[in-house]
């Protein structure tokens, strides 16, 4: 009990500096874990979120913009393509399924996307997982002014089966741009933890012919979501549309295109990680400074302990262990910081993209980081421990008479 008692009493005697130092450790640990977890999870989530499709066909333009618009329901559409293009690719022998979508309207900021009922009836958004509706709901009639709401959009907008609404023109909500049509909610999708949750789905024809839309584009679609029969089909279609053709763009494979996005913003991720490492170093330095500065005040206590028979290595070990304890306190509190930060960031990401990040998903960083912080703090305790180790007993206790 000797060592724990010495450590406990020392921490109590310097309670304020203990709390402040442990707080800085907690901040560093929480920040590091949060940066790491958000980085790895968001990268994995975005690159794996294909909602069941292998490729996207759209107007000539950026593949990334096409994927962000058609799969993640972010960004503006690069343009429309004629319905004939949809019919042609649908009949292509390499294509297993083709689902057209049309965008251009919203309901109080949540996108309205026009599509066909087949999306909900035949497509698996993840292996073995098809879209299902909450009890009492049904898929919209493709010829009626009906809507199926994604779970997140329904929750945020308070939509339920039987509710009616007027769509607003454009992707950005402007209350002055309300359409005259009245849509009735016929179903609410169960959560899929994909961008689909943030969308209100209506019949393709309904969106194409919404009042105020250009009548010349009444049959155009914004993009076609594709399931291919084999990976080689993707390269064949890539050749056909991207290299030989110059009118349309095929985004394939979806995951690799999103991975490119992460590569482009990797500098930001590196800066965040560097900041977190610096915070960790500063925190370890603060442990060193905090204990070192208190050494003058503690030298008499250390000399008394030595006079009572405590060995030098006991004193050295007590100071290093005290630093490690401060690190451990900070590491534990770091989990609270991590939870708070991660919950905030994950909430923003879900609201903006529909991608769900799991705060409790197991990852080695969740134990490596706290252990590394404790080790770093123990290392920070070595310098003051060495000073304690060298405390001259007789000179400290009383002057020579």
């Amino acid at each position: 009990m000797t060592l724990p008692l010495i450590i406990y009493r020392s921490l109590r005697q310097h309670a304020l500096s203990t709390v402040i130092t442990a707080g800085s450790i907690a901040l560093a640990s929480g920040l590091l874990m949060c940066v790491w977890m958000v980085k790895t999870q968001s990268q994995a989530a975005f690159t794996q979120t294909t909602t069941g499709f292998d490729a996207v066909l759209g107007a000539r333009g950026s593949k990334l913009q096409l994927v962000l618009n058609a799969i993640f329901h972010l960004e503006a559409s690069p343009g429309n393509l004629p319905y004939a293009d949809y019919e042609m690719i649908k009949r292509h022998p390499a294509v297993k399924a083709a689902i057209p979508i049309a965008v251009g309207d919203n309901l109080r900021g949540y996108r309205l996307v026009g599509t066909l009922p087949e999306l909900f009836q035949t497509v698996e958004y993840a292996p073995g997982k098809k879209y299902t509706l909450e009890a009492g709901g049904k898929i919209f009639d493709p010829d009626a002014k009906e809507a199926v709401a994604g779970s997140f959009a329904a929750e945020r907008l308070g939509l339920k089966v039987g509710d009616t609404f007027h769509p607003f023109h454009g992707l950005v909500y402007d209350e002055k741009n309300q359409h005259a049509e009245t849509y009735t909610v016929t179903g609410v999708l169960k959560p899929t933890n994909t961008p689909v949750d943030r969308v209100i789905w209506i019949p393709l024809h309904g969106l194409q012919t919404m009042s105020g839309h250009d009548p010349r584009a009444a049959t155009d679609v914004s993009a076609v979501l594709l399931q291919l029969r084999a990976p080689t089909a993707g390269f064949m279609l890539d050749m056909l549309y991207n290299k030989q053709g110059n009118r349309l763009t095929l985004a394939y494979p979806v995951g690799a295109i999103i991975a490119e996005l992460f590569q482009k913003i990797s500098w930001f991720d590196q800066v965040l990680t560097l900041v977190a490492y610096l915070v960790a170093l500063v925190a370890a330095g603060s442990v060193l400074a905090s204990i070192y500065n208190s050494m003058s005040a503690r030298q008499r206590d250390l000399a008394i302990l030595r006079a009572l028979g405590a060995r030098r290595r006991t004193i050295f070990g007590a100071v290093v262990a005290e630093a490690a304890c401060i690190g451990a306190l900070g590491a534990v509190a770091g989990y609270a910081i991590y939870l708070a930060l991660f919950a905030g960031v994950a909430g923003i990401i879900r609201t903006q993209t529909g991608v769900v990040l799991e705060v409790f998903a197991p990852h080695p960083v969740l134990w490596i980081c706290p252990l590394a912080m404790i080790a770093l703090c123990a290392l920070g305790g070595v310098v003051p421990a060495f000073k304690a180790y060298r405390t001259p007993v007789a000179e400290t206790l009383a002057p020579v008479s």
């Binding site: 302990l305 028979g309 206790l397």
Partner: protein
């Protein structure tokens, strides 16, 4: 119990060279004996006790405690010997201010044969502090703090108790009581007591008394 021979301790002088503080050719104390050393301030008696306790290294000479030559031991074993066989009552008590009364005593024991909380409680009860176990030194009177220091020094049932002006901070009444307590507990434990003081009132209570100047031949002390 205690045998000192050819013990020398000196310090560097500001004028150059070295100043001798302690030079004791021969000194001994039998088991259970109680001896008072008379010495004025600056005579080197605290240094002498520190050399015996092994918390100060001698330039040369021998100090043997209960048959073990302390000066021949490495520092870790010297620390161990001090923790097991020597009880030291400091003039300024040297209590750990951040620890309770009981912890002060138990911690002293833990470096020696091992912490024995029951014995520590008994001893503190014996010195009249059984009701103050969870108090901190700053919450005690000077006399009570001195009694904690006594309990701590005796907790390991040491073979040798060193007392450096143990009543120097107490009034006449409390000094007499404390001295009687130290001597009584030493007798009960069969411990040898070596006390240094310049207070004639304290010295007069000892049957065995010596002038430190008689045994310390240091030129600079």
């Amino acid at each position: 119990m205690l045998a000192v021979s050819d013990l020398l301790k000196s310090y560097p002088s500001p004028e150059g060279g070295r100043v001798e503080i302690v030079r004791v050719s021969a000194f001994g104390l039998a088991a259970g004996a109680q001896l008072a050393l008379r010495g004025e301030s600056g005579s080197g008696k605290t240094t002498f006790l520190n050399l015996i306790a092994g918390i100060l290294a001698a330039d040369s000479g021998r100090v043997a405690i209960d048959g073990t030559e302390m000066t021949a031991l490495g520092e870790p074993r010297r620390d161990r010997l001090r923790a097991e066989k020597i009880g030291y009552i400091f003039q300024t008590f040297n209590l750990l201010q951040g620890y309770t009364v009981l912890e002060n005593v138990v911690l002293g024991m833990s470096f020696g044969p091992g912490a024995d909380r029951a014995h520590a409680r008994d001893l503190l009860g014996r010195v009249g502090l059984g009701h103050r176990l969870d108090h901190f030194p700053r919450q005690l009177s000077t006399g009570q703090q001195q009694r904690v220091a006594v309990a701590r020094a005796l907790a390991n049932r040491p073979k040798l108790v060193l007392a450096d002006e143990p009543t120097g901070n107490l009034d006449h009444k409390h000094a007499g009581e404390s001295l009687a307590l130290i001597r009584e507990v030493c007798r009960e434990n069969g411990a040898a007591l070596l006390l240094v003081s310049h207070d004639e009132g304290v010295l007069s209570q000892f049957e065995q008394r010596r002038d430190f100047a008689e045994i310390n031949a240091a030129k600079g002390a």
